[in-house]
């Protein structure tokens, strides 16, 4: 799998404050990468560095395998972005705003603007002045602008900020369809865990400028699902018995003698009895109730996100 974004020890220091501290992340081609962190964690600063708006104090950024600072112009042409709330010339219509980008980038396809507006469902609002748009419409227009030049990478900084629940749902659907139908790699930041969980394939968790963990969502879900944990004298025999007697295949041996069973959660008594009857010593049984929120809270050491 090709790496699209790779940062190495990326840091931004303002005076004594380390806004971003030795951040190393990897975003692979075709994936939706969730960049999760509380407000002020350093997400926007990182994104601004990825887009060349802020110069890092030190560290490297490689995008599409090239050094950003040596080939900034060429790299940015392949990226579409929204940084925080997208800004527009409010005295112009949606179409005129997109025309500015199209002219500068050199988008020659005749209906590129109409096409971009159609993707975000603003084709019937294209003559309205942007000053009269709602925040949700502006966010969608921001996506349209980011898509105008058919980018290979989308960088979206909190694109659901300020949207109502329906707007959030629409935005989520739109982002998912862009990744699936256009094979665009997407980096999306958010301070809302459920948002990232529903969208991303992979996520990086940032806190106080530092990357705490980079993890696949599937792996995370599995890690944080409810499970029965058995500490047994013979894990090979135990798993064989689980398959034969209970038809359980959703299990994991994560350490010597430690078996986690992700199904049949209420049947620990029956499973225990079966182990004992088959000469397996059961040293401990534990029911885990971990949730993603618990995991996140443990990781960042705080109560709520944001």
């Amino acid at each position: 799998m090709n790496t699209v974004i790779k940062t190495t020890n990326l840091s931004k220091i303002y005076g004594e404050q380390k806004s971003v501290d030795q951040l190393s992340i990897t975003v692979n081609q075709g994936e939706i990468y969730g960049f999760l962190g509380r407000n002020g964690a350093g997400k926007t600063t990182t994104i601004r560095m990825l887009l060349g708006l802020i110069r890092p104090t030190y560290g490297q950024i490689e995008i599409f395998g090239e050094n950003l600072f040596k080939n900034q112009k060429r790299i940015l042409r392949r990226i579409g972005s929204i940084v925080e709330v997208p800004g527009f010339y409010e005295n112009l219509t949606a179409k005129e705003n997109l025309l500015i980008n199209a002219k500068i980038i050199g988008v020659h396809k005749k209906n590129a603007i109409d096409e971009a507006l159609e993707i975000v469902g603003l084709q019937n609002e294209n003559k309205k002045l942007v000053g009269k748009y709602s925040l949700g419409m502006k966010q969608r227009l921001g996506i349209a602008r980011a898509l105008l030049h058919y980018p290979e990478l989308l960088i979206l900084d909190e694109p659901t900020n300020g949207l109502d629940p329906i707007g959030i749902k629409e935005m989520r659907r739109l982002i998912k369809s862009l990744a699936a139908e256009r094979n665009i790699t997407i980096l999306i930041s958010s301070h809302i865990l459920s948002e990232i969980e529903q969208l991303a394939d992979h996520m990086g968790i940032i806190h106080e400028g530092k990357l705490l963990e980079e993890i696949g969502i599937d792996h995370l879900r599995k890690r944080n699902r409810k499970y029965l944990e058995f500490q047994v004298s013979n894990d090979n025999k135990a798993t064989m018995l689980l398959e034969e007697h209970f038809n359980i295949f959703d299990y994991e041996v994560y350490d010597e003698g430690m078996v986690r069973v992700y199904s049949h959660l209420g049947e620990q008594g029956t499973i225990n009895r079966m182990f004992v009857q088959n000469d397996i010593n059961v040293l401990k049984i534990k029911m885990s109730e971990d949730r993603l929120e618990d995991y996140f809270e443990r990781l960042v050491g705080g109560g709520t996100i944001g």
Binding site: L53, I79, P86, G87, F88, E96, L99, I100, K103
Partner: protein, 239 residues
């Protein structure tokens, strides 16, 4: 660069600032012509042009063109559009240069409006002494005044880029205007770039210093402003 400039023009569509600036440019011709017509109707056309150009360059021009300058540069911060433009990507120098080109055209257009209004209002109120040579000479003087004010806009752009707000720039231009007014009778006024610009445009440089001193003061101010704003804008983080 052409496309970048054309987008700058497009950004002005339906902009109220355009109309406001035209009204601002019309103030000096209206006030001077009407006041002269009422108080000194015997004055010659040449003095009419001189007075309007004097007020335009020294009094109205600095704050008016300063507001136009701030509008052009500051709106990208106010409307949160700078981060979009720079990530398209547009080179930071290209961005500055395209805006300066538009500013030049805007300033010259306002100067031309002031000159045209003086000519038309003067003709309507039937001042004496109008000739083809006067028309050409006055047009040249107005244009020189406008060009100098454009050249001297670089420190104003710098203040706008650094402060990212209308207020400091307006205060800065008001201070310049105040110095222009206070130094109006000073024999050293040729050393103050904005006052020197008015004197050069109207051929009224005092003989205290050689004219080169005035040109050096203007060039040094403009160049220092230009270099500082390019260096600052190239190095600054965009938040």
């Amino acid at each position: 660069m052409v496309n970048l400039f054309l987008t700058e023009v497009l950004k002005l569509k339906r902009s109220s600032m355009f109309l406001i600036s035209i009204l601002g440019a019309a103030v000096a011709p209206f006030v001077v012509v009407i006041a002269t017509y009422l108080n000194e109707p015997s004055i010659l056309f040449k003095e009419l042009f001189y007075n309007v150009n004097l007020y335009t360059v020294l009094i109205i021009g600095v704050p008016l063109y300063g507001v136009v300058t701030t509008y052009l540069f500051n709106r990208e911060y106010m409307e949160n559009t700078l981060k979009n433009i720079l990530t398209i990507p547009v080179s930071r120098i290209g961005f500055i240069v395209s805006k300066m080109l538009l500013l030049f055209i805007w300033i010259m257009m306002l100067t031309l409006i002031a000159w045209t209004l003086t000519l038309v209002l003067g003709m309507l109120t039937q001042f004496d002494g109008l000739s083809i040579s006067l028309v050409m000479e006055s047009l040249s003087q107005f244009s020189i005044g406008g060009m100098f004010l454009f050249i001297l806009s670089t420190p104003i752009i710098l203040v706008t880029l650094v402060m990212k707000n209308y207020v400091p720039t307006i205060i800065f231009t008001v201070v310049i205007t105040l110095i222009n007014v206070m130094g109006g009778n000073s024999e050293h006024r040729a050393l103050f770039p904005w006052a020197a610009a008015g004197d050069i445009a109207n051929n009224t440089l005092p003989l205290t210093y050689p004219p080169e001193y005035s040109y050096i003061a203007i060039t040094a101010t403009a160049l220092a402003g230009f270099i500082a704003m390019i260096v600052y804008f190239n190095k600054t983080d965009i938040h």
